[in-house]
């Protein structure tokens, strides 16, 4: 695999070097923090207990603190630099990883999901700003879909320049595809991100506890949520971690939200280009596994 950063061998060597530098930066950061805070704690204890010792050795405490701060700064700079370079190398490998994991890639980056999807009744929090990243459109294991990582932010305060400050209300991955159910009523959703006031209840207490259902009618809900299917949903790892939201819209759109999930991930312990590609591809296949495990009525390519 040759990219703009050189041949595979050159990149592997570069990654290994970055790995070593990253570990060094991390160690410097850690030791620096230990020196600064350890000195501060020790100083405080001596102030409380033994003033005579402090008089003899007090000056020595002023050595580790600046050294510690220096190590923190150097460690942070090294970690940041290696992280940036590693990220650039990873960007070059993303198309390769996507080609491996997906049946077809129509678009990566350069677009975003329609923001109205985030305002659908999925139990997502109200937000003032929605930022998306890693937009991907294509076919994954026979399913034509679009997906994007997103972060919903709420405005908290305004600073002195009247610029808004935001806090993160929610982050995750939204997958948009098509379902095959013919809905007789308006769409419905079952989600773990909120409890709908007056939400529908099923016969399964475990399901009612794990999920909240939003539906205008109810017939379509019971057509999909059979007792066996509810039992299956409740047993999923995503359901146990309360990270799942699903909405079936009347126009045939299916929205799946997985909290805290990302499309592109990295592992600093990987020091080869091929390992990086495999790791990313495996993660995307993991998203496909999750979609399959939901056993939703999803439209697939013929």
């Amino acid at each position: 695999m040759t990219t703009k950063y050189g041949s595979a061998q050159e990149i592997d060597q570069r990654l290994q070097k970055l790995g070593r530098q990253g570990r060094l930066g991390g160690k410097l950061l850690g030791i620096g923090l230990l020196m600064v805070f350890g000195t501060a704690i020790l100083y405080s204890v001596l102030v409380m207990l033994a003033t005579d010792l402090l008089e003899s050795f007090g000056a020595m405490f002023f050595v580790p603190v600046p050294v510690g701060f220096l190590m923190i700064i150097i460690g942070a700079v090294i970690t940041s630099k290696t992280g940036r370079e590693r990220s650039q190398i990873q960007d070059a490998y993303i198309p390769i990883a996507l080609d491996q994991a997906m049946d077809r890639v129509d678009q990566f980056w350069g677009a975003t999901l329609d923001e109205r999807y985030f305002k659908e009744e999925l139990g997502l929090p109200m937000f003032d700003e929605c930022s998306q990243s890693s937009y991907l459109k294509g076919v994954l294991r026979g399913i034509p879909l679009e997906m994007s990582c997103f972060v919903l932010k709420k405005e908290t305060t305004k600073d002195d320049d009247n610029q808004p400050n935001y806090e993160i209300a929610f982050s995750g991955l939204m997958i948009v595809c098509r379902h095959t159910m013919e809905l007789k009523e308006e769409g419905f959703a079952f989600t773990q991100f909120t409890r709908f006031l007056g939400g529908m209840k099923t016969e399964s207490e475990a399901f009612n506890k794990a999920f909240s259902i939003y539906a205008e009618g109810g017939l379509d809900v019971f057509r999909l949520l059979t007792p066996q299917y509810m039992e299956h949903l409740v047993s999923l790892p995503e359901a146990r971690e309360k990270e799942l939201g699903v909405r079936l819209c009347q126009d045939g759109t299916l929205l799946i939200v997985l909290e805290h999930r990302r499309i592109i991930v990295d592992n600093d312990d990987i020091t080869t280009g091929s390992g990086m590609v495999e790791y990313m591809a495996d993660h995307i296949r993991g998203i496909a596994d999750t979609i399959d495990s939901l056993e939703l009525p999803i439209q697939r390519e013929a």
């Binding site: 016969e203 109810g218 017939l219 019971f222 057509r223």
Partner: protein
């Protein structure tokens, strides 16, 4: 001082009365809303039963041409009319289930019928209708459960005079009985 205390007391009493009135209105409306949902769900069962009935009628008509000797299958009369009670619907549901089961069992002896496109299409249609009916039953029972709980819980039950618990829809699958295969 006395007048200040009197005003505060009046305000508190007034506030409590307003809250109580709002609670009464909300509770009574809640009962009514649930009753309407039950009626809607019952109507949904009626629609599903009618759909199944229509499919079964078409299936019987198709099968008649092949199974002329199975007269007892075609002589069954199942009553289905608009505005049936829950019990009557349950009875019609059970009768249709029994007839469908017997028809499919007897159809096993007629390979020409079983492989005909029309029969297969109608068989799929009946399965779809049964799924629809199953969902409609569960929706109705969920709404009935919600209503029955609402009128039984304190203090709402103080306002529930004149509201009696609704009957659940009982398809009672056990009473379908075994389908005897005749060879």
């Amino acid at each position: 001082m006395f007048f200040f205390t009197f005003d505060l007391f009046t305000l508190l009493i007034g506030g409590a009365i307003v809250l109580a009135v709002l609670w009464v209105i909300s509770t009574i409306n809640g009962f009514k809303r649930r009753e309407i949902k039950i009626e809607e769900a019952l109507s949904g069962i009626e629609v599903a039963l009618t759909k199944r009935y229509d499919m079964l009628t078409k299936l019987l008509d198709t099968a008649k041409g092949f199974m002329e000797h199975e007269s007892d299958l075609f002589s069954r009369v199942i009553a289905l009319r608009h505005g049936m009670s829950v019990g009557e619907m349950g009875k019609a549901d059970r009768e249709m289930s029994e007839l469908t089961g017997r028809l499919f069992a007897v159809a096993e002896n007629y390979p020409e019928l079983r492989s005909s496109e029309v029969f297969l299409e109608l068989q799929r249609g009946i399965r779809d209708a049964e799924e629809h009916l199953q969902a409609a039953r569960r929706l109705y029972n969920a709404n009935v459960s919600s209503y029955n709980i609402a009128i039984a819980m304190f203090p709402a039950k103080l306002l529930a005079k004149g509201h009696s618990p609704k009957e659940f829809y009982d398809a009672d699958d056990e009473k379908r009985g075994d389908v005897k295969m005749q060879f």
